[in-house]
Subunit: 465 residues, 2 copies
């Protein structure tokens, strides 16, 4: 055992760290596409091997109803807290590859950034704590506290089978606190503290009309056109202002206090710059809430796909036998995903126009919103550390996205999760030319060394966590 | 010259007639698909050759802005009327070929029917007058009146460039009456007289939101979703009852008198049987009109295609940058297609929800409705002939479909058109397993002999046509 300094160890091994990340990004572990299931499994084995090489114990692949998860542990610090570090090795589909400067699964370094699908979300960020752990084990020979790692391969699908998995593995995963490495900061200068993620539920539905596609000259005007019917139904989901008009949808929504809402205001938020970034002329949504509030503390109902009839070139006079749409809802505290789904299903039933029949297929990814109470002691601990690292107070942050497993950890393990990741908002997450800054990659590894030290001194029982 | 009987000649040549039709149906002359443009041209040459072999004069291909038309004439009957016989040699796309019992362009005779795309619409029906003309020229050596033939290759696209063509060729096409061979009867026992076809216009439009597809978790709720916007816009085209809510849309619609509407009633119309045939549970549409009226004497606005966002398997949380739809309107007398298109475009402008921008691309196929006045003398002439041929009074019939050139003949040549065709409604027009009854094919040829004789005795000037 080289009794060196783990920070020096990290500095000396950045080339190898980049080689590791490059290898992992090369695997097209697209969770949603069944013809990539083998790649997801290959990524799982790669992660397990890397955990073993880092010096962790009990490394294993654990089956779920879909892609395997990876577990590893180091539990040789009796009397010390146990943390569960989480990340995911699956990725989003790359989308149209012609929009990528270099191929999505042939990672390439340009200007100090590694480009490739999953570079920042979440392969780079999930490697960081593994590398920090390795540095400790290879220098000091021990970690300052007990660590469990859990990496999953279905996060980008909404973790449909991770709730059941966490419930079934509650003893194995038992801990004092979870650390979410699928997280980030606001900029290279400004840290954040992630206080909440939204939940999710969704469905696909069809409206069926005539028994087959029919000629719109022969039958148009005398029968319900499924495309008209689905437009009418979709229009009924919101009022003209953008507020959701589904009965019961807002029933359980936790309204934040004026103080909590005031604390969310980001004084340097520049509406014109944000509009330009998204490419829109105006924000639009539920009255009484700012754009930031609408995407974080308010639930949504969004159509993500809509189709029917002839979509080729030129005219064709057809009335299609059916029209289809996909819906997702983002949920906030204290909404129950199944209850919201039931409200949406009831709305479809009540608002299906005459002359068509609805057929509904709910999606499996049901997740509650997750909220870390601001008074939770881990918040202060991580906040102090971020302030030291960045020289600035972290901003409290709520995200509009979902990390479904955080709610499962809370529900089944009884623990909260703090975000500790180093992705930045401009890194093309889910889009083309996704990248991760190599400076963030290194900074994160050093930061994790300090986080683990800080957490080792924490006494969860004593301060009421 | 064999001075035989032309009816005998037809009877002796049915095998060759079937061989001709088989050859023509083998050519995949799909007007709408640019990779079949050569096939449309090949079909045009085939028709021109067949006209020449039949003994017609001045046979030629005439260019249009798209596919060529075919012309031929026999004008050696001075003092006799001149009729213009019309049909089309282009066909609809075959649709999914696995739904066909035999391949759509490998015609096959089964049970006295020739199966193949275009067998009845309109290749079989357009060959009938050519074969009858040939029988006269090969037996008697003359026609009883002057005949011009015009066959086009873009009818199934809505004849977008035939209006300009007819206007430019008004001298060549000058006549006393047009005969529309793109027509049919109600059944083998019941003849009809086609009194009107509807006009058409249409457009495709996009609603554009964010500059690129964005994550519905990050931005959902704060920006206008183009899929919500297009649903709202499409829902605004009709009121809840199904009546069109576009300002000015009904302005020029000719309201039929109570007598005219009463004459349209088909006493044996069986609503339950019609519903079962279409596969719907209920008819739906503009209040105050029967299903038959809604598809014939009332205009429509139908969405024929609608799409945007993710349409693959499973969930994907995207807000697409745009949503698109295709619209077609069927028009009745006295609507002007450009004026209706302008109303629809104005409606889109006025009803585009906030946060998206509309981009509109009108289609080129603009056609007025066509109406043959019931008092037109050709109506009585053809009606009497059909009664003799079928032993039953023909039913007056309006169709919901469009034969755009009929309005162009009326506008540019100043003549009306009578339908004289032998397709039947059960022959799979535009669908799989299209066929033509060989009995209808032969019956039509004999009927045309009698029609030409009857028309030869007609004096258009004398009875005010």
């Amino acid at each position: 055992m080289d009794q060196g300094n783990p920070h020096d160890y990290l500095d000396q091994h950045q080339d190898r760290a980049l080689a590791d990340l490059t290898e992992l990004v090369t695997i097209p572990s697209i969770a949603a596409q069944s013809d990539h299931a083998d790649d997801v499994a290959r990524a799982a084995r790669w992660v397990a091997d890397r955990l073993t090489r880092a010096g962790l114990d009990g490394v294993r692949l654990l089956p779920t109803a879909l892609h395997p998860a990876v577990y590893g542990e180091w539990l040789r610090a009796p009397g010390k807290p146990t943390v569960l570090i989480y990340g995911h090795f699956d990725v989003m589909p790359p989308g149209p590859t012609h929009l990528w400067t270099s191929p999505p699964f042939a990672p390439e370094v340009r200007n100090g950034r590694l480009y490739g699908r999953g570079a920042t979300d979440d392969k780079g960020n999930m490697l960081i704590p593994i590398l920090a752990t390795e540095a400790l084990l290879q220098t000091i020979g021990a970690l300052p506290l007990n660590v469990k790692f859990l990496f999953e391969g279905q996060e980008e699908m909404g973790s449909p089978y991770m709730g059941a998995f966490v419930a079934a593995q509650r003893d194995l995963l038992a801990c004092d606190l979870a650390i979410n490495a699928d997280s980030g900061q606001q900029s290279e200068e400004q840290p954040i503290q992630l206080l909440s993620t939204r939940g999710i539920c969704g469905l696909e539905f069809a409206l069926r009309g005539p028994g087959a596609d029919v000629h719109s000259g022969q039958h148009g005007g005398a029968i319900q056109n499924p495309l008209h019917a689905i437009a009418e139904l979709i229009a009924s989901f919101h009022d003209a202002s953008g507020r959701i008009a589904v009965a019961g949808f807002y029933d359980d929504v936790l309204e934040l206090s004026a103080d909590e809402r005031a604390a969310m205001q980001t004084p340097d938020w520049d509406e014109a710059a944000e509009r330009a970034k998204i490419g829109i002329t105006a924000f639009f949504g539920e009255p009484g809430y700012t754009p930031r509030e609408r995407t974080t503390i308010r639930p949504t109902l969004e159509i993500n796909g809509l189709w029917g009839g002839y979509t080729g070139e030129g005219p064709m006079t057809v009335i299609p036998r059916e029209a289809r749409a996909k819906i997702s809802c983002r949920l906030v505290a204290n909404q129950d995903p199944q209850r919201v789904l039931d409200c949406v299903i009831a709305h479809i039933g009540a608002h299906t126009p005459p002359g068509v029949v609805a057929e509904i297929s709910p999606f499996a990814n049901l997740a509650r919103a997750y909220h870390l109470p601001s008074e939770h002691p881990a918040n202060a601990l991580v906040g102090d550390l971020l302030e030291e690292l960045y020289g600035r107070n972290p901003l409290p942050m709520r995200t509009g996205g979902s990390v479904p497993i955080l709610a499962f950890f809370h529900e089944h393990l009884g623990v909260h999760s703090v975000g500790f990741g180093f992705g930045l908002p401009d890194e093309g997450i889910h889009g083309p030319d996704e990248f991760f800054r190599l400076s963030s990659f290194a900074r994160g590894q050093h930061a994790y060394l300090r986080l683990l030290d800080r957490l080792a001194a924490w006494q969860p029982g004593a301060d009421g966590a």
